[in-house]
Symmetry: C2
Subunit: 354 residues, 2 copies
């Protein structure tokens, strides 16, 4: 999988706390409450920390501030529950940032899971979610499995199609272990998240085969220069013969469980910058003994790690392992950022008196 | 996607009712109650009807009867709920066929969804599920979204790995529409369900690239003769560069939500023929008006169908559409079956006095 990392000698490193504090300060200036600014900054910079650079401050903070400035995003959302049952809620996000609304929705889901076994909460009229795994991970310290989905306006070309009709529609699930790092699966249902193309373009690196389609819908199965803009991402599977209908179908399922269920709409009808989300929490103790579950997760993860590697490969990874390793490294050495972003950040903080 | 259809001139056609009645009679003879035999036969032959030949009577009935004969599968399971909350249950299947246990589990999930919004039911100590979408579809007439997952012993090679560690671990979701056919996504997290290779071998057709790995874990990216046995299926994505870690990660998630959560075990520890399942039902009216939801689903499905086709393609399909079209055709013309199976079926029915 392409990662598109900035060469280390070009990067400037900033500590997690520093980047989070600066991000929070700029969000506060944009009109958020201190609590919401801190919450959003924590989610945003957690992505930088875990190596999910597509969803970190360097890629998203300027966009978020622009959306607050031009009135597209509401810094003081009057979000409210429009429908509720013991296990479910449907939230009108009032155009608040997903990084602000989804953690509150996840806490509602967790509370419901503790009471009745499962909590499932949709969010409509939403804005960008940030990194999906951030919200899923909130369930883990509360002894629940966390799930988070989000759907956006069209970027994915359906199998056999010529035009984008679905978002990148990621699926995240976080599961506690006893000794092993938390299991975290977090993946777009396209081959790559859209922002990866932006990053590849910025770094001037080529795009591998299988990521985009031609304007006529034909999958591009050779390497190309990373374009500055993109609109036709291929579903997971890339080609019909490699079962791209499965990536496409998963994206549909995500659109249904977020947009259709929560908002009576769907991605292709959403304006650019609009998103629908859902979160779910599953109370592990509703099914079995918590410690036994966590120990079984340890065994499961170790069994996977101990798979003999394929010819020419070093090791088998487990979902969330690379992110965990990156987090350890970046906590100690700081987060490597593009100098252009660091300059902008310093200037923005100086200009606004932060 | 490879479908491996029997050439029409070689097939014998049998009506759905006839095939179901014969299957039920043989299951009854195997020791099931009449109710369970009818239930299992309905699920089994529904797969033949919908064109999911991998999971129909022709592929599975003989195996099921053999498992009953040799005592691996329990024809009279004393299944019971071992853990329960308002939204969840964990069922010990007592080695009963999934086609018998899962419909009952799904009804429990639906009842819970009607009471508290969501129902989520795991099944451990299970046997084969049949076609996952059969169980998901049970929720649809009861105005719920249905979900069904199942995990088996190892068949999938993890990304970068050399040996199988996960099952094909399919994901099914069924969603009601107003006028359009029900939306049904049902897909293994490998490129193909394992039985497809058996069918390809039986038909003597080659296997396309991207489905299996070599013994050393290297993905086979050229066409090969379909082998008579297989043990190394590639995850959805096929290659690491085409994001096979996503198919692998989804398979892990399915294993966790079924085996680890319900049974404190995982696929790689399951004996051959053992399976863990889960079903979930989401009450649509907990989130919005049911009719509005179904109409939005119609709009969503039509929007996808109306995607301009890619160069050289005829049309864009929606998950469940081909199955629905096949069902219409096979209801009127009968189910096309391999003559060898039809001969066996007639003989088995004659021998057992059915």
């Amino acid at each position: 999988m392409p990662t598109f990392l900035l060469p280390d000698e070009q990067a400037k490193r900033i500590s997690f706390d520093n980047l989070r504090a600066k991000s929070a300060a700029l969000l506060l200036k944009a009109g958020l409450t201190a609590e919401d600014a801190n919450l959003a900054a924590d989610g945003l910079v957690s992505a930088d920390l875990r190596g999910v650079d597509t969803h970190g401050a360097a890629n998203l903070l300027r966009w978020y501030l622009e959306l607050y400035r031009n009135g597209t995003m509401n810094p003081r959302p009057s979000w409210q529950i429009t429908h509720e049952t013991p296990a479910t809620a449907n939230i009108d996000s009032d155009y608040g940032l997903g990084l602000v609304i989804a953690p509150k929705a996840m806490q509602i889901a967790i509370d419901k899971a503790h009471k009745v076994g499962v909590g499932f909460v949709t969010m409509h009229n939403g804005r960008h979610l940030g990194m999906a795994q951030y919200h899923a991970l909130l369930a883990v310290p509360q002894n629940a499995i966390g799930v988070c989905l989000t759907a956006s306006g069209p970027l994915m070309v359906p199998t056999f199609g010529r035009e984008p009709r679905l978002g990148t529609n990621p699926i995240a699930i976080a599961v506690p272990c006893a000794q092993e790092p938390t299991f975290v699966f977090d993946a777009a249902t396209t081959i790559v998240a859209g922002n990866k193309i932006v990053i590849a373009h910025r770094l001037g690196v080529p795009l591998p085969p299988g990521i985009l389609s031609e304007d006529d819908g034909t999958p591009i199965m050779h390497s190309i220069p990373a374009p500055s803009t993109y609109s036709r991402l291929l579903p997971l599977g890339s080609l019909p013969d490699l079962a791209s209908h499965k990536g496409y179908g998963l994206a549909c399922a995500v659109d249904i469980l977020t947009s259709v269920l929560g908002g009576l709409t769907f991605g292709a009808k959403l304006d650019s910058g609009s998103f629908s989300h859902c979160v779910a929490a599953i109370n592990i103790q509703a099914f079995s003994n918590l410690d036994d579950f966590k120990r079984t997760m340890d065994d499961f993860v170790r069994m996977l790690k101990e798979t003999p590697p394929a010819a020419g490969q070093e090791r088998v990874l487990v979902p969330g392992q690379l992110e965990w390793e990156t987090e350890q490294e970046r906590r100690s050495k700081g987060i490597p950022l593009h100098p252009e972003f660091v300059d902008w950040l310093d200037q923005a903080c100086a200009q606004t008196g932060v």
